[in-house]
């Protein structure tokens, strides 16, 4: 592994039970670049040396959930192992992150909220698309639904919509709160719908069923 041997300093997390089979390592109570990077790094570190009794590691926006078997390890012992791992090296993003180029159609019938988003930002739609696609985004986490990824961060931000669309198709590109999300299954959403891609980050016939990993980079390319 092309990692630096020195420990990567991680923000001091909250370590709390989540139910009686879960231990949550939460790096912040609000979403920040630092907390998201810490969650990604720590999840990778855990993946390199999974503590005994841990059955599953689930990285989230600002936290990592460890599911454990209480018959195999107690919470306090696991919390102790987590604290040890927090101070150690490993999991650092070595070299370049994996980059995925995603072709997408913005606006039109597949991106009905594009004009409204641009208007809220005082931009022309074409300028918004250019700004949106200008630089790589980080996959912050997968969650909420199968293969659903949150990508960030944008300097541009609009709030969620006040109404919920009952269903949008897989491949829908959503924008809200300084992030872009891509759906992989039919979903309801309160985010602005700005486009569509043929890329689908979920195939249950393949294990693992998703392609994108937290920490990967996404570059959107606008196509007709």
């Amino acid at each position: 592994m092309a990692e630096t041997p020195a420990p990567v300093p991680l923000p001091n997390p909250l370590i709390v039970p989540l139910g009686d089979h879960g231990l949550l390592v939460r790096f912040a109570a609000t979403l920040s670049d630092e907390a998201n990077r810490a969650a990604i790094t720590f999840a990778r570190r855990l993946g390199e040396r999974m503590p005994e009794g841990v059955t599953e590691i689930d990285p989230n926006l600002v936290s990592v959930l460890l599911k454990y078997d209480p018959a195999a390890i107690g919470f306090e012992r696991l919390a102790g192992e987590v604290r040890l791992l927090l101070g150690r090296a490993g999991g650092a993003v070595g070299g370049k992150p994996k980059r995925h180029r995603i072709a997408a159609r913005f606006g039109g019938a597949e991106g009905p909220d594009l004009a409204d988003v641009a208007r809220q930002l005082g931009m022309r739609p074409a300028d918004f698309i250019a700004a949106h696609n200008a630089r790589p985004l980080r996959v912050l986490t997968t969650g909420f639904a199968p293969g659903f990824v949150y990508c960030g961060f944008h300097a541009l931000s609009v709030p969620r919509r006040t109404t919920v669309r009952p269903v949008v198709p897989p491949g829908t590109i959503l924008f809200a709160a300084g992030q872009t999300a891509i759906t992989a299954t039919p979903l309801p959403t309160g985010w602005s719908v700005i486009g569509r891609t043929e890329f689908c980050n979920f195939d249950p016939a393949i294990d693992p069923p998703t392609v994108l990993r937290e920490g990967d980079e996404i570059v959107f390319k606008a196509v007709k």
Binding site: G22, L24, V62, F144, A145, P204, D207
Partner: protein, 302 residues
């Protein structure tokens, strides 16, 4: 080939095996039986059971065995069971012959029951499991609920094992035990106190994703907690919607959520929670993590 023809199936009738854990990081919750203990009892009683059961609800189930014979066991809640029109005791272990018709109607208690067979139900494994996740539209039969007209193909007989006769542990009428949740501290002390003092009602809006509660005492009326970062959800989490409605999240929970969660039902009490019918009163009692783990080892409700 032996098949089961579904004659009648209420909403939320699904195929379930022990579940599909390990895929939260891909956005998939584990699904699996709403009453895991009842599901396990059917397998133990049958001795050599297929890994997959039909999970049915108070909306009932009717089916006919075609093309062969098969053993089965039924348990979970208290349902009214008929074979070819003859009423049988609940729970039950039966040998079904070609042409037998099984009819299940609601009985005095419970929301979910299980029909487990001495053969595997021949649906594809999806990510290592046959459990239906309705929220993810995965597993089971085409990722959906069973409905009248469906035909389930059965595999070879499962090698017999010594059959046990497990009795359901008494469900217990005491409060449902909880651990304080991820966001408990965001609720005022008075709200937390009333959460464990007041009684909630199970609403008619219950499904595999969660059980909505009615908060008639208004414990959460006016409790305003906004814009939480989305974080991991586990079965049993009690989240409070923006309008103050509490929901106990169940087996088909979304893997992450942004609503505040005041508490989490302990694993040992989650089957009981799942079986509480609409209109049932429910109270919550906080326990320590050590008590929650001890309850798992004891296996008994309070």
């Amino acid at each position: 080939m032996t098949t089961l023809r579904i004659l009648r199936a209420g909403p939320l009738t699904t195929l379930q095996d022990a579940g599909r854990p390990g895929h939260l990081r891909h956005g998939i919750s584990a699904a699996g039986p709403m009453d895991r203990a009842a599901f396990r009892r059917t397998g133990a009683w049958l001795g050599g059971a297929g890994a997959t059961a039909i999970e049915f609800t108070t909306a009932g189930l009717g089916l006919r065995v075609e093309g062969g014979a098969v053993g089965c066991a039924l348990d979970g809640g208290q349902f009214t069971l008929r074979r070819n029109g003859e009423t049988l005791a609940w729970p039950a272990r039966l040998h079904l012959e070609d042409g037998d018709v099984v009819d299940i109607a609601p009985g005095p208690a419970g929301n979910y029951g299980y029909l487990r067979l001495g053969r595997e139900i021949d649906v594809p494994l999806v990510l290592g499991s046959r459990a239906t996740s309705l929220v993810s539209r995965l597993g089971g039969l085409e990722g959906r609920e069973l409905r009248a007209g469906d035909v389930l193909h059965l595999g070879d007989a499962v090698a017999p094992l010594p059959a046990l006769h497990p009795r359901a542990t008494p469900a217990g009428a005491g409060p449902v035990r909880v651990l304080w949740g991820l966001h408990a501290d965001l609720f005022e002390a008075g709200v937390r106190r009333r959460f464990i003092e007041e009684t909630f009602l199970v609403s008619p809006r219950i499904d595999r994703m969660g059980a909505r509660l009615e908060d008639q005492a208004g414990v959460f009326a006016g409790a305003q907690i906004l814009s939480l970062v989305s974080d991991a959800v586990v079965p049993g989490d009690i989240q409070i919607l923006g309008d103050g409605t509490p929901i106990v999240l169940m087996r088909d929970h979304q893997p992450t959520g942004g609503y505040p969660r005041i508490a989490t039902v302990i694993d040992a009490d989650l089957d009981r929670m799942a079986q509480l019918r609409p209109g049932a009163h429910v109270r919550f009692a906080p326990v320590t993590l050590a008590e929650a783990h001890a309850a798992l080892r004891g296996g008994a409700a309070p």
